[in-house]
Symmetry: C2
Subunit: 453 residues, 2 copies
């Protein structure tokens, strides 16, 4: 009886306990589930693409490369120059330092740091319409964001002006030369002319005589109509430039007129200005340029020319650039701006190289001075994209060859219509490339110092 | 003592129970967590992009449009032609049926059905290198997949040939004409000539005299070197064509030589063949063409010309196309092929229009017959991209205007160097567009039948 009573008393307690535990369990479970799923995307079609992209990006290739889905869908490492092996861990000793290429890879870490805000998903049914620029939501948004970007960087005035987009600078130059020739009812297209040293890349095979500075050399008849092409900051030497030829029209290429590369004395307000996304965000693989045009007729003629020749920017490219510009603008207020990041990196590289070269009598680089910058609101150090290196000795007639012999790939001055005593060193590549460049330059300079001591 | 003993006996049991429950709880929790998280992507940077894309895609715009992230990051609906309102639910009654545009929107539902396999994520640091085509993983993969696609569709032989990529057909034509002129050491560039009716769009402003069929009209001197441009299936009439001019070189444009639009009698094996992704996958907003070239020298000259003029395809475009081709190939074996989907849709549209027009004496469309198709391994019905409509009555001299008056936007025969009694009706637009087109055509035909009865 005592046993039975005890059992009777125990059973309801146990039931209660069971109930309580079950309830507690459910409470905890739901709490956990909610917490866990709050940060997951809703179940849907974009999940597998996100998973694939994250899996590939998780492979770090020893910090000297990037992973890519290759044959059979397997990720493989594409190594930086001078690194090899499956995981890019082996440094190739005989490999030349790449100071030739213009890809602004110094900005790659910036985008890796902003992975979650800067990535986009392209659904399979995206971009099935072929509308030309300006006729749809995407283009209107891109136009609006380009204006916001110029306003934020304080480098150009776009109010009341027209923006024309193209894939390549060559396309825009063709269209603009055509439009400027047509406006003045000239029978033959005008000649596009630039002063040396200048970078003619992408402007070859141009109408008329090409971009070479024949005008300056006096080989053009005075009757020929001239359009001056001014690159400021100039490639190769990073100097801010003005028009000097007194031409009837001037096209200003401001590809490098952004706070990472140059001081911004004031926003530019010229009639025709060219810009490209690749120098701003560093995406050299994305082909998008734009012209900011003051005169409506010039804009219309140029736009019509491009439309007739179906020079259309792929919709995917527009969407990608739109996303990048959105991130650049939104991060500016938060102290994580790309201009600050870029400026710090290039300033450090420039001052390292400057220090190195200043101890040498054999080499010199262009003199750049600290200048007031309207964007940073202070005097800032130089941070050019390129060093314009001169071999000072008479016997070093081919400066490019001198560097090549010492394991440095540069771009010869002759390619910029300049003296072969000059060569251009690119400072915008990866940290690996720059480290190798300074290592090789150090060796060159110390050899000189030992010889002279 | 009895109480104390009872308590002593109870405590270890309770402890055990607690332990058991806690353990059970943990087991259940982990089990649940694993099951739940197995189908979620690992936590990472791509999540928010995936979430955003899915949220936008979830807005259906009443089935008459697509959502897009507009100003302020808010999704808005971009409506199909003739629909309006915030959710695209209002049909505009006076709106003309769009049978003019060439965007192959009939394939949009295919990609929506394959959302999870066809979407891609672009991390922010993607495409920071500018390497030209052929020099990197992406281009090599694209080249390989284009060959696989031609093999799978059995429409062209690519073995031992070279593939040259470009953004626009105009770029490739320029480069090829340049290369073909140079190969034969001719002093002036050759003339590109086509037989009417043909679609000159995108080939205007060409070297020499443009693409217009002046040769056929006898206005060219016999000394001029001719390159024939053959479009097969032809735009506008969908007929398979051969070269007829006996020119020294022929460029075959096979943009529509895919199983959705045409029977494939046998794989083509010509010297120079052109294709584009937009007609295969339907992505008119993605600009990518390729030339399959037999002769190595011609390929090299054309590639060099494009490289000098920096005609480079954006890396994002290459990646997007690579993904689309991968899906097209992988779905082919599974019965969900895009060719089957496209063929069924266009066959249905063609037979509807054919039935409608055949009851009319005022209108006729081109006669197309069922033909054996090597891809489907059977006799198949016609499924052309366009109907080449003729207004048979003498008084309907401007067929385009006749249709326009009845609310149908078409493309006039005069734009194809043909008689104005002809006009082209596009059958590749959305279901909405095609429904409106047949509604308006029905009205036109029944008016005619009533008048004649």
């Amino acid at each position: 009886m005592d046993e039975a009573r005890r059992g009777g008393r125990r059973r309801p307690g146990l039931k209660l306990l069971l109930f309580l535990y079950a309830s507690l369990f459910l409470n905890v479970f739901f709490f956990c589930y909610l917490v866990l799923s709050r940060h997951q995307p809703p179940p849907g079609w974009a999940r597998s693409a996100a998973r694939d992209a994250e899996a590939v990006a998780a492979i770090d290739c020893s910090g000297h490369g990037r992973a890519f889905l290759a044959r059979g869908g397997l990720p493989v490492c594409e190594c930086n120059a001078c690194y090899s092996g499956d995981d890019c861990s082996q440094l190739l000793l005989d490999c030349p330092a790449d100071a030739d290429s213009e890809d602004p890879l110094f900005l790659e870490p910036y985008w890796q740091q902003h992975a979650s805000t800067s990535s986009i998903v392209s659904p399979g049914w995206q971009c099935m319409r072929s509308r030309t620029m300006g006729g749809d939501f995407i283009s209107a948004e891109l136009d609006r964001h380009v204006r916001l970007l110029h306003k934020a960087a304080e480098n150009a005035i776009t109010d009341g002006k027209f923006i024309l987009f193209g894939s390549e600078v060559g396309e825009l130059l063709h269209a603009l030369v055509h439009a400027l020739s047509a406006v003045n009812a000239s029978s033959s297209p005008a000649c596009l002319v630039a002063s040396a040293p200048h970078n003619p890349f992408g402007r070859r095979h141009h109408e008329c005589i090409g971009i070479r500075s024949n005008y300056v050399k006096g080989s053009l008849s005075p009757a020929t109509k001239i359009i001056e092409h001014v690159t400021s900051p100039n490639d190769p030497d990073g100097l801010l430039q003005q028009s000097v030829l007194g031409a009837s029209a001037v096209i200003h290429d401001h590809a490098y007129f952004w706070p990472h590369y140059s001081s911004i004395p004031a926003p530019e307000d010229e009639d025709i200005m060219l810009f490209t996304i690749s120098k701003i965000s560093g995406h050299a693989g994305i082909r998008l340029w734009w012209a900011v045009i003051k005169d409506q007729k010039t804009y219309q003629k140029a736009a019509e020319y491009m439309s007739l020749n179906t020079m259309v920017v792929s919709c995917d490219v527009q969407l990608r650039v739109l996303k990048l510009i959105r991130v650049v603008i939104s991060e500016m207020g938060k102290g994580g701006g790309i201009f600050e990041f870029g400026y710090k990196t290039l300033k450090t590289r420039w001052s390292k190289l400057h220090k190195l070269v200043s101890s040498s009598n054999r080499f010199s680089i262009q003199p750049l001075l600290p200048r007031y910058c309207n964007y940073f609101k202070k005097i800032r150090d130089p941070s050019p994209a390129y060093a314009w290196l001169k071999c000072e000795m008479e016997e070093d007639e081919d400066c490019y060859a001198v560097l090549k012999k010492s394991g440095i790939a540069s771009r010869s001055g002759t390619l910029f219509e300049a003296n072969s005593h000059y060569t251009r060193l690119s400072l915008v590549r990866t940290e690996d490339d720059f480290d190798l460049l300074t290592m090789r330059m150090e060796a060159l300079v110390s050899k000189e110092l030992i010889a002279s001591s």
